[in-house]
């Protein structure tokens, strides 16, 4: 049975069950802020206890404003908490963090904060890193809102804070000379972020683009609705420590040699044109099994990750081609960006091709880009100014 029929059957079964559903009296007003279902309350308490454990190293009482849970509570005793979830006692020495990815930035943060281990790729292809004071894991799957997974908003405790940092994007105003604070950083209307991000809790969200050391930086700062003045101050101090260059330059810096396509360029199979039209003053580069388009002068041009192959000729059969692209920084230590899969595309002049799931906009530096499709591999280097 095909998936369309199975979905129709599942929908029919669900709708049939709903026909017998009694319609309750409509609720005319919203429940008080902070209300959750019985299970939600219990879980929220657990989350808050865990948060407190991780922040302070000792268990504290849950918020007293929450209604009592009617289901058996799952709040753990201190002894039931696995030792691995308890953070070491905080120290007063700030930790310097240098982004290990392709972005070049660093900052200092107290050890009472933690950095998300996972990397996030919002819609615009850039990578963001999140610092937070709360304990629950980030959900890295699926959708994002304001650069972070939606559950980040929902899991935010009342006294917690989150900072999301991302280089690139729309240039904004220069960083204030006296650093960031509540008065210089725009605040989103709470109704807006609750609606757009389906946030259920009270969150104070600051979002904006700024110029820091000449680089555009996107910043998101979240506060729970009972955050202390001390934590606010601490949060803005962390943001103010942001620098857009690592402290120690990589030895490979300044030695980038971008790939230039040989002249004449590759002549692809007959169904494709001898020279590309998709980009001016560019040539085909690669082999008939896998090729791309590169500027003749080797200068970096921002574009989507586009690839052609004589083995990719039918988008109907292969709507989402299995093209994998890996991007590595060669001028600094950094984790590679691995793009998995792609989609089909075509133009009248350049024929059928693939667009890989990889960032279209790269940050400054030397990049080695490797594409793999049906056993064929192609590599080239770009120097992003």
């Amino acid at each position: 049975m095909n998936i369309d029929k199975r979905l129709q059957d599942a929908a029919a079964a669900t709708n049939a069950e709903l026909q017998h559903e009694p319609i309750p009296t409509p609720r005319r007003s919203s429940r008080p802020s902070g209300f959750a279902s019985a299970f939600g309350v219990a879980a929220l308490v657990v989350g808050m206890v865990a948060t407190a454990v991780l922040i302070t190293g000792e268990e504290t009482s849950p918020a007293t404003s929450l209604p009592p849970a009617t289901q058996p509570t799952v709040t753990p005793s201190p002894s039931s908490i696995p030792p691995s979830t308890i953070a070491p006692p905080p120290t007063t020495t700030p930790t310097e963090y240098v982004a290990p990815y392709y972005q070049s930035w660093s900052l200092e943060y107290p050890s009472t904060w933690y950095r998300a281990d996972s990397r996030f790729f919002p819609n615009h292809g850039g990578e963001s890193t999140v610092f937070a004071t709360f304990a629950l894991d980030f959900d890295t799957e699926g959708d994002y809102c304001a650069h972070v997974p939606p559950n980040t908003f929902d899991d935010l405790g009342q006294t917690d804070a989150v900072i999301s940092i991302q280089l690139g994007g729309t240039p904004g105003p220069e960083r204030p000379s006296e650093g960031f604070n509540d008065t210089t950083f725009p605040v989103l209307p709470v109704e807006w972020i609750q609606f757009q991000c389906a946030v259920q809790s009270e969150v104070e969200a600051h979002v904006g683009s700024w110029m820091i050391d000449g680089h555009p930086v996107r910043l998101l700062v979240l506060f729970g609705d009972q955050v202390t003045d001390e934590r606010r101050t601490e949060t803005w101090q962390i943001v103010s420590s942001l620098r857009t260059e690592p402290v120690t330059p990589h030895p490979g810096r300044g030695t980038c040699i971008a790939t230039r396509p040989p002249t004449p360029g590759l002549t692809p199979p007959e169904r494709w044109p001898a020279t590309p039209s998709i980009a001016p003053e560019s040539l085909w580069y690669g082999t008939a099994d896998l090729w791309t388009v590169l500027p003749v002068n080797g200068r970096y041009e921002e574009r989507k990750s586009v690839w052609w192959s004589q083995n990719f000729t039918d988008a109907g059969i292969e709507s989402f081609p299995d093209i994998d692209v890996t991007l590595r920084r060669t001028d600094r230590d950094a984790s590679p960006i691995v793009g998995d899969g792609g989609t089909n595309a075509s133009t009248a002049k350049d024929g059928l091709f693939m667009i890989a799931n990889a960032p279209a906009q790269l940050t400054r530096g030397c990049w080695s880009i490797t594409g793999t499709y049906k056993g064929a591999t192609l590599n080239y280097v770009v120097d992003v100014p």
Binding site: R27, H147, V207
Partner: protein, 181 residues
């Protein structure tokens, strides 16, 4: 819809087109409740949470009924709110479950809709990216056209088609069914 995802800038929520006549809230509630509840159940995977989300959405519509009731399709507004909150609820439950398992391994609860076959399908739908799950639920459960789904989710019809194709392909792979997408 203006989004900070694309630009990093703060936008405004666009108003939906308004007509003059404000409909009867009680009739609207009676006509739409079961259908909207079904959407919440499918997308949240949690019966009690779905009832709560549905009631919250209708209560929000009631509070602003002079505006919502004057919309061409007030049901679309409620479905948008419910589909967003339900997906968030599902992710929140998964997050809670992870925390509970970490703190007390037997404390996580199961989510069990009544129909087993439908459950298997909807379980996989909930694992899809948010937009894909919403598109599948609205298309199949409510039998809506691409244009209608696009209006609810405030996106283009082509975007709906892309999400639908990808979701069908993923579901076919995971459930071992053929895809005619």
């Amino acid at each position: 819809m203006v989004s900070i995802l694309a630009t990093g800038e703060v936008g405004r929520v666009e108003e939906l087109p308004v007509v003059r006549v404000v409909g009867d809230y009680d009739a609207f509630y009676r006509d739409e409740y079961r259908s909207v509840l079904g959407l919440a159940i499918v997308l949240s995977g949690d019966r009690s949470a779905a009832e709560d989300i549905t009631q919250e959405a209708f209560a929000a519509a009631y509070r602003d009924w002079n505006r919502i009731g004057a919309l061409d399709q007030p049901g679309s507004w409620v479905r948008r709110v419910v589909s967003n909150k339900s997906v968030s609820r599902w992710r929140h439950l998964r997050s809670e479950a992870k925390a509970l398992v970490r703190l007390k391994p037997d404390a996580a609860r199961s989510i069990a809709p009544p129909d087993a076959d439908a459950q298997a399908i909807w379980d996989e739908v909930r694992k899809l990216p948010k937009r894909q799950a919403q598109v599948i639920a609205l298309t199949y459960l409510h039998d809506l056209t691409r244009a209608e789904v696009a209006a609810i989710l405030e996106c283009g019809e082509e975007t709906v088609k892309t999400h639908l194709d990808r979701a069908r392909q993923t579901l076919a792979n995971r459930l071992g069914s053929g895809s005619d997408a």
